[in-house]
Symmetry: C2
Subunit: 109 residues, 2 copies
Amino acid sequence: MKFSKPLTPCCSPLLAGKLTPEEAVQLAALFRVLNEPARLQMLSLIAAQSNQEVCACELVESLGLSQPTISHHLKVMYEAGLLEKERRGTWIYYRIVQARLAALKDVFS
Amino acid sequence: MKFSKPLTPCCSPLLAGKLTPEEAVQLAALFRVLNEPARLQMLSLIAAQSNQEVCACELVESLGLSQPTISHHLKVMYEAGLLEKERRGTWIYYRIVQARLAALKDVFS
């Protein structure tokens, strides 16, 4: 099994010294990804799965959103480095990038 | 010295179970506050002060933004519970609400 993930800049600590303008822009972009309630629900649903992964098909049923909407949110979170993905036949499966969430946690340390 | 802060809902853990729609909306609203680079720079500047506080006047000089813009960002972060404030004479001084940042950190645990 080989999940793929993009390399995107992440996450300068907020309280460990003055952020540069570039660091602030990168970090703000990551928070922008998280300011959609549906995306937060998707992350919590993925984390709640016994195998820690979902395909888009499972989220459509759980969240009552359309397939294109779900796919769009998954794509945005994948491109932000919050999710990794693997294609298996027809479906793409997504997992949370735990290291990315740990880095986000450290932003507030 | 008595800093005041508003009581606003905060911060359901993202990975500890399925978020309810209401929890997702509250958490997304908090991330919306953080998706402005200037606000992140302001938080890091406040944290970098030796006395951990600033007045708006000090931020105007450091960030090169107008006084009304700075005041708007401070008000938004105060109302989101990220900052507490105290009036002293002409100026209002702001501090980071450490408990709030700790709660945000726990969102990613």
